[in-house]
């Protein structure tokens, strides 16, 4: 992460650098201290549903990052034009448009994966992380800040679901990215991890470890 934000780009005198300290916080905070899944408890549905295998999880993570960054950008550009009373519908409309885009691209170029993910691509629309960022951040901030914020939240979501998927695939199917690591003769695979129960357990323990490290306590 740190390599790409170390060199501030040269800009005009008045405006702040493209990656100033304040802006770096937008990207770095959601990765750990303010993680959307483990701290803010958002977007759990898809975090659990698609994490049986690494590959669909990666596709899901990329789709969510794409949707969240671009809807943040659009809503931020429109923020002064949207009347307060209908903002939820407008936000849902923008998100649904980008999700439709993702779904159509997936259908065209990777139909297998489209079948595997099924309804869960559509459910990015109701992924609370996206709605939450639009409502809490993009409605009141400038476009570039919103893009960075979207990137931060997206990557914070991505590393958590990839970690969950890694353990579920390793222990449940004995493989990583469909490459067999060990077979049943060395250690029997545990079908509990393919099942929904394994997802709850892995995420619960991951949250425990992460919160113990950051010292965050919920009351």
């Amino acid at each position: 992460m740190s390599t790409e934000v170390l060199e501030p780009t040269a800009t005009t005198k008045k405006s702040e650098p493209l990656f100033s300290k304040r802006r770096r916080k937008f990207v770095l905070d959601p990765l750990n201290d303010d993680n959307p899944i483990t701290v803010q408890v958002l977007g759990i549905c898809s975090a659990l549903a698609v994490t049986v295998k690494m590959e669909p999880t990666l596709i899901m993570a990329v789709s969510v990052v794409f949707v969240i960054v671009f809807s943040n950008l659009i809503i931020s550009l429109l923020r002064n034009l949207i009347p307060g009373r209908v903002r939820i519908i407008v936000q849902l409309g923008v998100i649904a448009t980008f999700v439709t885009l993702v779904s159509e691209v997936l259908k065209a170029y990777n139909y297998e994966m489209y079948k595997v993910l099924g309804a869960f691509v559509g459910l990015i629309i109701t992924n609370c992380i996206v709605m939450g960022r639009l409502e809490a951040f993009a409605m009141g901030n400038k476009p570039w800040d919103s893009v960075l914020d979207g990137l931060g939240s997206g990557f914070g979501y991505a590393w958590v679901i990839l970690t969950v998927a890694f353990f579920r695939e390793l222990l449940g199917s004995g493989s990583v990215f469909n490459h067999q690591i060990y077979d049943a003769s060395i250690m029997p695979t545990n079908s509990l991890f393919i099942d929904s129960i394994g997802a709850f357990m892995v995420l619960g323990i991951l949250i425990w470890i992460q919160r113990t490290k950051t010292g965050y306590v919920e009351h």
Partner: protein, 203 residues
């Protein structure tokens, strides 16, 4: 008989929470007290039972390939399925708004109880998920209605049970890092094991 079977399946076996993880956000956020959990659960049953059949009609008479032939035979080749997400979410948002107004007008007491939960439901994954599953599985109108109401009841059952456990949990000494979300996840996993015992029941 088929319908009763489907209803029981969608409440216990294909439970929205334990089998498909839908509606997890509100499931985790609103399960601290039994009374609020019942309010949210009732609202979900209501909205899911309504949106599934309405979205079925939309899918069948507007979106599907050749669905527009009831207007004119010339529309036979039109396929509007790419509009599915936008249509479904707009209809869900509209129905939630409508339900809110009707409930407010006719039963103010219920409105007071559901109040804040109704608008939240528009972005509950289980509602949109219900409509998308219904399309994926080719249900008929009656099946869609039963599936919607059944899934809603399954959600209500799960959230009320979890809220009851969490109320008791307040008096236990949980490790700091595990407090709140962590322990709730583990409990949900254990409840999932209990719900697994329904698998294989055929009526």
């Amino acid at each position: 008989m088929e319908l009763i079977n489907l209803g029981i399946r969608s409440i216990f076996i294909d439970n929205m929470i334990f089998a498909y993880f839908l509606g997890m956000c509100s499931f985790l956020a609103v399960s601290k007290k039994v009374s609020t959990a019942i309010g949210l659960g009732a609202a979900v049953v209501f909205v899911l039972g309504l949106t599934a059949p309405v979205n079925w009609l939309v899918q069948e008479y507007i979106l599907k390939e050749g669905a527009l032939t009831w207007i004119s035979p010339a529309f036979e080749t039109i396929n509007l399925e790419f509009l599915q997400f936008i249509m479904f979410i707009a209809i869900i948002a509209a129905i939630v708004q409508l339900v809110e107004m009707v409930v407010e007008k006719f039963t103010p007491a219920l409105y007071g109880a559901l109040g804040i939960f109704l608008p939240l439901i528009a972005v509950n994954c289980s509602i949109l998920g219900g409509s998308l599953f219904m399309v994926q599985r080719d249900y008929t109108l009656a099946e869609a209605a039963v599936f919607g109401a059944g899934s809603g009841m399954g959600f209500m059952l799960a959230i009320v049970a979890l809220a009851a456990i969490r109320e008791k949990l307040k008096y236990s000494n949980v490790p700091d890092g595990l407090k709140g979300l962590g322990i709730t996840m583990l409990i949900t996993g254990l409840m999932g094991i209990a719900f697994k015992s329904f698998i294989g029941i055929v009526l």
